[in-house]
């Protein structure tokens, strides 16, 4: 084997994909027909694989062009509010190193429209649906949960962690007492498995997690976005119209993993959906070892529509050689 003279094109392509901050498995085809081998159970709800879409990064009309939504472990849908919300002014996105910051501000057509449009269509397609609930006040959340109580949604995810709305959102999610009160109230209104989505913008994640569980949460999902921003050095002004927004993408991965780890240590039994920077089966697997029952893919789906399916496929294969972990997950248990 002597000196090798030249690079060839195929290496370049793979190098490029990796350097763009995308974790990819060479040769992986997410659309190839696949029989899922390793399922999970989150708060009693079976997922056919441990990978879902993260709220706000899935839209049925947009995504079903690219993959079969029934292939996902679960579909997390965009936050719905009691009435349509028009969100924040534009621009709503900026780039950050290995990530992005958004200030969409929960623009959505409201729960009534969701109930006649996206939800029934998703169910008809065979999806397991996690419906994300948004509000500006306790009453808002209550109104949405009430409307969803006897809908076909499989799980409700209470979003008390959006940094992009001025009331409700993150302000409830960072105050254990207020949060406990809210979850208590919502608990009386529905028997559906209720997931509380936690904010990373807190001093003590365990206190917030505990407040949710004591309030009656069946599961926790974390993390939502971290507060952040970018500034345009030509104008000296923030790039986002809303000034600050929520940071997500690969850059938040180690931070999200640390949050899941700490919550799992403190609360050994609560089901956890790990979210934050996942763009490969390997990163998903780190979350499972940190104690998550399942994961969701967010920003990565914005950069490639089929990313969630690809992550699910990669993870399914990685679990083949980890029978102990796969077995725990399939029984609704977690690592350690």
């Amino acid at each position: 084997m002597g000196e090798i003279a030249v690079n060839d094109g195929s290496i370049m392509q793979e190098d490029k994909a990796m350097s763009a901050g995308r974790d990819i498995t060479p040769g992986m085809d997410p659309l190839e027909p696949h029989r899922w081998k390793h399922g999970t159970v989150v708060a009693g709800v079976p997922w056919k694989n441990p990978v879902g879409t993260a709220s706000g990064t899935f839209n049925l009309d947009a995504c079903q062009d690219y993959y079969d939504v029934a292939d996902m472990g679960a579909i997390g849908t965009k936050g719905v509010s009691p009435v349509p919300w028009e969100g924040n002014p534009s621009p709503r996105t900026a780039e950050t190193p290995a990530g992005m910051v958004n200030s969409v501000g929960l623009q959505n057509p409201g729960v009534d429209r969701y109930l006649v449009d996206e939800l029934p269509r998703l169910k008809a397609l065979g999806a397991t649906v996690v419906t994300n609930v948004a509000g500006h006040s306790d009453d808002d959340y209550a109104q949405v949960v009430e409307r969803l109580a006897d809908s076909p949604a499989d799980m409700l995810e209470i979003n008390v962690s959006c940094p992009n709305v001025s009331h409700g959102g993150m302000s409830v999610g960072t105050d254990p007492e207020a949060l406990n009160r809210l979850i208590h109230r919502l608990r009386t209104m529905t028997d559906k498995p209720m997931v509380v989505k936690l904010s990373p913008n807190v001093t003590d994640i365990v206190a917030v997690a505990q407040a949710s569980v004591e309030g009656g949460a069946d599961a926790l999902s974390l993390i939502n976005t971290l507060v952040g921003m970018r500034i345009d050095i030509d104008t000296g002004e923030p790039i986002l119209a809303q000034e600050t927004g929520g940071v997500s993408g690969p850059c938040v991965f180690p931070i999200a993993l640390g949050f899941v780890w700490r919550v799992r240590k403190a609360l050994p039994d609560i089901p956890i959906i790990g979210i934050g920077g996942i763009d490969s089966g390997e990163k998903a697997l780190e979350f499972l070892y940190a104690g998550a029952n399942a994961v969701e893919v967010g920003a990565a789906a914005l950069l490639d529509p089929v990313a969630p399916v690809r992550v699910a496929r990669e993870l399914d294969d990685l679990l083949d050689s980890r029978p102990e972990l796969a077995d725990l997950l399939s029984k609704g248990k977690t690592w350690k």
């Binding site: 350097s19 060479p26 079969d68 621009p91 709503r92 529509p305």
Partner: protein
């Protein structure tokens, strides 16, 4: 050591088609690269799917490789060439387009698309294509489709900052081409010049360019009741309709530029500072 590449174009497109879906992000080969002006480039890319599905007004997401630039760069398709290539014309604005400008034929680039709803070219009328600078590319594709469809008359009115870099692509595709640069006036000057020959009842305006320019064109056309379609721009998070980052205010609410547009009826748009 070299492993199979995860997404060469053809297999990705084929598999998606077999699955009844659109192909996701894939790695394409650049077939041509030409400097048209200071910091303006023309790039051709081999991608049979994009070539076959490109509507007039469609764009593609191109992705830089730098980890500081994860978000898509939406660029309008200017022409379809030879059935399996698309052409884009882009200006160097920031880090992403700077990186693109350094690519050469044989290099690879990640692509998603074609994306977006195109111009409605079903009406039979005299089409006036009013473009400004780097807004011209989607209008070239519109002219190409009009020419393929046959029947309709087309006139292009193009405004540039300086060099008339896109005239030579537009010229063979329209019946009449008039262009102007900042030294001489703007597209409204051209519209005023064309007006005597126009029948407002039989005219459709397609426009693409800086938003204030399109606002002025829409106002000009509005006064004359000429139906106008505008191809809009917005900062995008995904480019395919999933994130709601790219909104524009319309009479039908806040819509997504990437999926509900980029082409909107001028009458439906709520221009900054109220309607028109």
């Amino acid at each position: 050591m070299s492993q199979p590449v995860f997404t060469t174009t053809e297999p990705v497109i084929d598999r998606a088609r077999r699955a009844g879906r659109r192909p996701g992000r894939r790695t394409d080969v650049i077939t041509g690269m030409e400097a048209l002006d200071q910091d303006v480039w023309r790039m051709t890319i081999e991608d049979p799917f994009a070539a076959q599905e490109a509507l007039p007004g469609s764009f593609v997401n191109l992705y830089p490789t730098d980890s500081m630039t994860l978000l898509p760069r939406p660029l309008g398709i200017s022409r379809v060439l030879g059935g399996n290539q698309i052409e884009v014309i882009f200006g160097v604005v920031g880090r992403g387009t700077h990186e693109f400008s350094e690519l050469r034929p044989g290099d690879c680039i990640d692509l998603l698309g074609p994306l977006g709803k195109g111009f409605d070219l079903s009406g039979s009328a005299h089409y006036i294509l009013v473009g400004g600078g780097l807004g011209v590319p989607p209008l070239i594709r519109a002219a190409q489709v009009l020419r393929e469809q046959g029947g309709a008359r087309s006139t292009a009115l193009l405004g540039y900052r300086s060099a008339h870099f896109a005239d030579r692509f537009m010229n063979p595709l329209v019946d009449d081409l008039r262009s102007i640069d900042n030294g001489q006036g703007d597209v409204i000057t051209l519209l005023d010049g064309l007006e005597p020959t126009l029948d407002p009842e039989d005219t459709i305006i397609l426009t693409c360019g800086p938003t204030p320019m399109m606002g002025a064109v829409a106002a000009w056309a509005g006064k004359r009741s000429i139906p106008t379609q505008c191809c809009m721009e917005a900062r995008m998070g995904c480019g395919y309709g999933t994130c709601v980052a790219c909104v524009v205010d319309t009479v039908n609410g806040r819509l997504k530029v990437c999926k509900d547009g980029p082409v909107f009826k001028a009458d439906d748009l709520l221009w900054k500072g109220g309607k028109h």
